[in-house]
Amino acid sequence: MTFVIISIFCLITLFFVLSYFRFRHSPEDRNFKTPWIERSKNLYRSWFIHRYPAKQRWIYIGLALSYCYLVLSGFIFALISVRLFGLVLLLHVVLGCLFSVCLCLAVLLRSRFYTWNVKDLAPANLKTKAGKQKVWQIVLFWIFVASGLVLVVTALFQMLPQFSLRAQLIIFEVHRYAALEILLAGIAFLYFSLFNDGQ
């Protein structure tokens, strides 16, 4: 129950924080003249089609779809306080594996774009909107990767016979909180990526 409360609280907080960011930093976007479908298409083209080579796109599609399924299946069951079971669990395991592989490839392919640089933290850079968003993206990217690593490791540990029941329960809790973290990081990262005018 604690986890459910914390999850709901975190998600609501994130929603309000991002809303605040959105309306504080993008006042010019308030009066849209093009329809939202058209804007979405443009965003898709600019952010996805033009950004990644054709072969790489499959990695990100796999990453995104598995991420969505894992989040939905995990959190829906957590919200109703029932452990995953049946086909949902089986798919959770299979797509968990896919997610880990895609995450690994994404890290190998994309981490050079999110390398930490002290210059990014220069006061002059942080004063600009693009500069701030760049920093947020780097931080969130690595939080996402770190959470992914925790998820992979805890999933692996749950399958190993070396851990006692007590340890298993702790590992499971860590897995859940890492999942919450990756959810929040993923949403925030997406926000800063989609609405970053500089990229």
């Binding site: 452990r83 079971f85 049946g86 086909l87 089986l90 395991v93 299979v94 594996c97 880990s100 592989v101 995450l103 690994c104 890290v107 190998l108 981490s111 390398t115 930490w116 640089n117 002290v118 690595w142 990767v145 770190a146 992914g148 690593l149 992979v152 490791v153 999933a155 692996l156 749950q158 399958m159 190993l160 016979p161 070396q162 851990f163 006692s164 029941l165 007590r166 298993q168 329960l169 499971f172």
Partner: protein, 777 residues
């Protein structure tokens, strides 16, 4: 005014007196039901009291058996104990989870009915079947503790009962509490069988010797009538002769009361053993082997409300203390774990690591799934239980029975929603079908309607008996059928063995078994010879005269040999022309007018061949005939069925036996708690694939319907169906464990790469902040 004051004080004094007396009474009763704190056990030198609360003096002429009620009551509240688990089936409102039912087994009619007063699922209430407390006690008293059902109050006795003659079966305190090796469960069972209810406790405790049988006494006999000096052979009045050496000068007897009840006492009624298991190699419960007794966990106070030891018990009985004595309570006590102690629970019970087992297992499975009973196999293990199969009663006669066939482990999702191992028995009974409801018939009613259809073996044995008694043969008469020898046994039924003599062409070969081997009942001779064979004809005459003594014979006896037929018109042997086809060996027949019927009919031959030496006692043919008979005898023209092996059998419009599924044929299940296996022998010790594989016995083992009817039409189920689990999913899930090692490798590689990337990133940050990178550039 003065009178008013006096009245006031009188009322006050009376009320005070009443209060004091009530207080004292409460204190007195409290003394009887509470523990003073001493861990010692009182030495029980007691004067025996009979059922009239009179002192028993062993030297008296006609001593009565001791009554536990009056002998024990001065210190122990009999009425409180009556509310205990072993005695309260009739009136308790809280029955907890299902336990082993009483099984009414009647091999002759093929009846196996699970009974209980406790209202558990799948069992029949004896009251609904018209079974009185008297009937129930006669059926199951052998393994009952006395009290409860078998000790009715005077206004609860049924008219046909003989409680006045037999006495009531009082709670047998010594049956459990006696530490003496003289305590005999077998003696208890024998006394109950003889209707010697009031004498059973005395006889079984070894205080004295009981003779006589109340079952043979007339219903008018009364305890005050005493022994009958005119009959010392048959209707002998039960009497007890106490062993004088056990009494002291104050007529006190030493009761060897155990501080802790010996397991042997419990096992008299609670033994469970695999069929075919050798005593030498029989497995033991890990707790018993470690020296933990039954009563260390199954505890009780003076109320005898035994702890049953399952996880939800505290909730079921609204008593938190009970939770401490379950597997979980001892081994995984949360209070202890909160204190950081992972080493020991109650009595130093080891705290299990359960390494590598996902937590979901502890939410969905009871501890016993992995730790109790035999490991699951492709076909369930058949076991015998004390109460079901009448174990532990020793003597010349064999008490134990093949039926009911109880199997374990069957994993069933119980009322708590957890899967637990259960024992299972398929009910078998004759029933009356009204709409969709089936009501069982009493075996005696079926027997009455079936007549000789269900007495095939007895009918053949009657012929054997007549020949053996009056046929003047040297040996045992036998029948050779289908390559087997059928001969009578001491129980009045048939034994079967393989025939190894000369080849016989006849379908039915009547013979004699003697030291010299197997010889024909009628020696070989030529009936057409000019000189008659005197020996052969004398044997024929003797056999015919023997058959003539049979009461239920459908006609005159005859013997067909070759093409001649011999019979006894007016007591003299006469030969006449037999059937044209003739016979190679002597054929015993009945002659009724012009009709010739074999002494053992085709139906009887088929039944004998099919059932003798087999676990089953009925054939499909017999069932069809009995169903016909039941319908013919019924004026209401009701529909009758026979339930066996998970199917309901009934006759269709053309009189053929058909079968279908029906809820009334569903098996009855009850959870098992023992034999507990240690971690090294638990299910899953070999890894996840012990259960999670596409062909695991746990999910896909087979449970076949079993019943007294010999048929290939029985219910057959896969183990997963009892758990309400989906088969394709479990197959798929099981298959997934084949690729699990690969999954682990993938996750490991991913973890190493992503971890390395994170490490590199951290190094970069560190390098930048320490200026290492700048300097290099």
């Amino acid at each position: 005014m003065k009178y008013d004051k006096a009245l006031f004080w009188i009322v006050i004094v009376v009320l005070f007196g009443l209060g004091v007396s009530l207080f004292l009474q409460a204190q007195t009763s409290q003394k009887k039901t509470t523990w003073d704190g001493s861990r010692t056990t009182a030495v029980h030198w007691l004067q025996l009291k009979d059922e009239f609360d009179q002192l028993i003096v062993p030297s008296d002429y006609y001593t009565l058996p001791y009554s536990a009620q009056y002998t024990c009551t001065p210190c122990h509240d009999y009425s409180v104990i009556q509310e205990g688990l072993h005695f309260n089936a009739l009136f308790s409102t809280q029955h907890g989870r299902a336990g082993e039912p009483w099984i009414w087994a009647d091999p002759k009619t093929g009846t196996l009915l699970p009974l209980s007063y406790r209202g558990w699922p799948g069992v029949w209430n004896p009251k609904d079947l018209g079974l009185t407390r008297w009937d129930f006690t006669l059926l199951f008293g052998r393994h009952m503790t006395g009290g409860g059902v078998s000790e009715p109050k005077d206004d609860e006795v049924s008219p046909e009962s003989r409680w006045e003659v037999s006495g009531k079966l009082e709670m047998n305190c010594m049956g459990c509490h006696n530490a003496s090796r003289q305590q005999s469960h077998s003696e208890w069972a024998k006394q109950v069988l003889r209707h010697n209810f009031r004498w059973a406790a005395t006889a079984s405790s070894g205080l004295g010797e009981v003779g006589g049988m109340a079952s043979r006494l007339p219903g008018t006999w009364d305890l005050f009538d005493g022994p009958n000096p005119d009959d010392t052979e048959w209707a002998v009045v039960p009497t007890v002769r106490y062993w004088p050496s056990q009494f002291d000068s104050k007529h006190r007897v030493f009761f060897d009361i155990a501080p802790k009840i010996d397991d042997q006492r419990c096992l008299a009624c609670h033994s469970v053993t695999r069929v075919g298991e050798n005593r030498l190699t029989a497995h033991q419960d890990i707790h018993s082997a470690a020296g933990i007794g039954c009563v260390d966990c199954h505890r009780n106070d003076i109320g005898h409300s035994m702890t049953r030891g399952y996880e939800e018990e505290a909730e079921d009985y609204q008593d938190d203390k009970r939770g401490e004595f379950s597997c979980w309570g001892c081994h995984m006590d949360e209070d202890l774990s909160k204190q950081g102690s992972e080493t020991a629970g109650r009595l130093g019970a080891p705290y299990p690591e359960h390494s590598g087992i996902p937590a979901v297992h502890f939410e969905r499975l009871s501890c016993t799934v992995c730790h109790s009973g035999p490991l699951p196999s492709k076909e369930s293990t058949q076991v015998r239980t004390s109460r079901g199969n009448r174990l532990g009663i020793y003597g010349v006669a064999q008490w134990s029975t093949e039926w009911p066939q109880i199997v374990e482990p069957v994993f069933v999702k119980d009322q708590s929603g957890k899967i637990a191992p259960h024992r299972l028995m398929w009910p078998a009974y004759w029933g009356k079908m009204e709409g969709e409801n089936i009501t069982p018939l009493r075996p005696s009613d079926v027997e009455k309607a079936a007549g000789r259809i269900l007495m095939v073996e007895e009918s053949v044995v009657e012929v054997f008996k007549a020949i053996a008694l009056y046929g003047e043969i040297e040996g045992v008469p036998i029948l050779v059928l289908s390559g087997n020898v059928y001969e009578p046994n001491v129980d009045g039924l048939l034994d079967v063995s393989k025939y190894s003599g000369e080849e016989v062409s006849a379908e039915i070969y009547w013979a004699i078994k003697s030291d010299g081997g197997i010889i024909p009942l009628i020696p070989e001779f030529d009936p057409d010879a000019e000189e008659p064979d005197v020996d052969a004809e004398t044997r024929i005459q003797n056999v015919l005269m023997a058959l003539d003594t049979l009461e239920n014979a459908p006609g005159q006896p005859g013997i067909i040999y070759k093409k001649a037929m011999y019979h006894l018109p007016e007591g003299y042997l006469e030969k006449k022309e037999g059937p044209e086809e003739g016979t190679t060996t002597a054929k015993l027949v009945w002659l009724e007018d012009d009709k010739i019927t074999p002494a053992v009919s085709g139906f009887q031959v088929r039944s004998v061949v099919a059932t003798v030496g087999s676990e089953q006692t009925l054939t499909e043919e017999q069932v069809a005939l009995v169903l016909q008979s039941l319908s013919q005898n019924d004026i209401e023209d009701s529909s009758y069925v026979y339930v066996s092996g998970g199917k309901v059998f009934m006759l269709d419009e053309e009189g053929r036996l058909t079968n279908s599924k029906h809820p009334a044929a569903e098996p009855v299940v009850w959870p098992l708690g023992h034999r507990v296996r240690p971690a090294q022998q638990s299910l899953g010790i070999n890894g996840c694939t012990d259960c999670h594989s596409e062909s695991s016995a746990f999910f896909f083992g087979t449970i076949k319907g079993a019943g007294p009817m010999k048929t290939d039409k029985f219910d057959k189920r896969s183990a997963h169906s009892f758990m309400n689990l989906d088969k394709p999913y479990q197959k798929l899930f099981g298959l997934s464990f084949r690729v699990r090692p690969l999954l682990k490798v993938v996750l490991f590689v991913v973890a190493v790469i992503v971890g390395s990337m994170l490490l590199i990133m951290l190094m970069v940050i560190l390098g930048q902040y320490t200026g290492l990178f700048e300097k290099r550039r």
